[in-house]
């Protein structure tokens, strides 16, 4: 019997290892402007997964001849803190981090009007402070908030979540255990404003009917997460508005 068989991911009465139902998200907490020096920043918590994102730019970059004359370049670095995982991760970027940086960049790019900032670079840094599954999706949620917080024009926020499978059951927002021992893990990112899916990966196996079910479940969850992103941004700009108008901070505003 392998370790995989010993781990109970979902009980007979449909409770997952952390007590959630199949379609239940982990507690979400999102905040923007958590850093002073960055042009835009955000902290996103999806249960035990905590990701910090910072945006710098649009700004000059060298060597200048590598900057296209008709648009900005987007650079993304996804990194995990050494202490974010059970066994200490070496600080040097792994192949996994390099790949994830690339797919996150490609998930964000379609949402941006890069042509507005020719010959500049926009740098997005995401740092996983604590990992409990879904670090790339939390990174995308955080990065897109940080981009908006930096005032970079966007077609819409990019929102991401992972769906997966345990046996015949589709599940949403996988934790670490489900990610490791589940039958499939499928991270998805979308621009809810346009309906474009900008990231889609999967490992494990997924029968075709469940695949469709999983995509639909993800879309539903993305709408909820997107609402939370909007709330986080709105909260900040209401605070600014009140400051400008000299109104005391008022949650009802």
């Amino acid at each position: 019997m392998s370790l995989k068989d010993e781990v109970i991911l979902i009980t007979e009465d449909g409770r997952r290892s952390d007590g959630r139902r199949w379609d239940e998200l982990r507690p979400l907490r999102m905040q923007v402007r958590v850093l002073k020096r960055a042009d835009g920043s955000a902290l996103v918590e999806m249960g035990g997964t905590k990701v910090l994102a910072a945006v710098y730019g649009p700004r000059e970059s060298h060597p200048r001849h590598l900057l296209p004359p008709d648009r900005a370049i987007l650079r993304v670095a996804y990194r995990m803190a050494t202490f974010s995982v059970e066994e200490r991760k070496k600080p040097q970027p792994s192949r996994r981090e390099i790949e994830l940086s690339k797919v996150i960049r490609e998930a964000l790019e379609p949402a941006l009007y890069l042509e507005e900032f020719p010959r500049t670079a926009i740098d997005v840094y995401t740092l996983v402070l604590q990992a409990d599954g879904g670090t790339r999706t939390a990174s995308i949620n955080a990065a897109s908030l940080a981009l908006a917080d930096a005032g970079i024009p966007m077609k819409g926020l990019v929102t991401a979540v992972a769906v997966g499978r345990i046996g015949n059951q589709v599940i949403i927002d996988l934790n670490d255990l489900e990610d490791k021992y589940g039958d499939a893990d499928m991270p998805i990112a979308m621009i809810p404003a346009t309906g474009e899916i900008t990231l889609l990966q999967m490992d494990g196996t997924m029968p075709p009917d469940l695949f469709e079910e999983a995509l639909k479940l993800a879309e539903k969850a993305i709408r909820i997460i997107h609402e939370e992103q909007r709330r986080a941004l709105r909260e900040r700009y209401i605070r600014i508005k009140n400051e400008v108008l000299g109104v005391e901070n008022d949650k009802r505003a």
Partner: protein, 290 residues
Amino acid sequence: MISELKREIITKLEKETIFSLLSEGKRIDERGLYDFRQINIIPSLIKKAEGSALVELGNTKILAGVKVSPARPFPDEPNKGIFVVNTEFAPVASPIFEPGPPPEYAIEVARVVDRAIRSAEMIKLDELVIIPGKLVWMINIDIYTLDDDGNLIDASMIGAVSALLTGSIPKVEIVDEEKEEIRIIKEETQPIPIQDIPVSFTFAKIGNYIVLDPSYIEENIMDSRLTIAVNQRNQICAVQKGEGGGFKLEDILLAKDVVIRKADEMRSIILDQLAKKPRGDKAWEEIKGE
């Protein structure tokens, strides 16, 4: 601040303002010359780390985490545990940090923090032995800069010390001493054995003035930098002069007096914050956007 990195542009007006305020004994953020900024510590917020602390020194923010793992001892010290301090200048922290290998300054910060902890004998290394001569605990202290508004050395020092003070080591059962087989019982832990709490103070020399705990804008125009760390008995346990420029002997003695005067205050702020702040999931609620 960082000689080999680009310095950020600072306007002549800001520079002149800083100087004219200094001549009246004042600073641009309204502190006194020898005041350090407010310290805020959020302990034990990383579940996967054996110890952790988020430290704010004014607007400067760092996150320190401790990981412990069994390792082979150094041949010259077979019955002592090991600790390693490492700083990651995460590019989230500043427009001039870039992803990639650590710049010189990051290595300098880590080594100063390491020296202060080592010289103060903060950790009882001889209590970190698992199998004498063969297996000991290695404590990795990793410090991530999150927001650089100056004085990363002192912020990192507070972070390292706080993460160690919140840190724990799992219980170990020796299965076979010959084969070095052990079983780690994660559920049963004991605190990292600590016997001293060093604190550090960094000064900037700006023209003829000496200021404590320089902010980013002050680091940008400083001529030189001096860090002094002391242990619990007020013995100096690390000194580092950084950047070009130099200090006069009386500057150094003045700085030393300030350190001796302030050390207990900083130490009790650290202990007080660690004692009263919520930990774990509650700790995250302490982090708020602007």
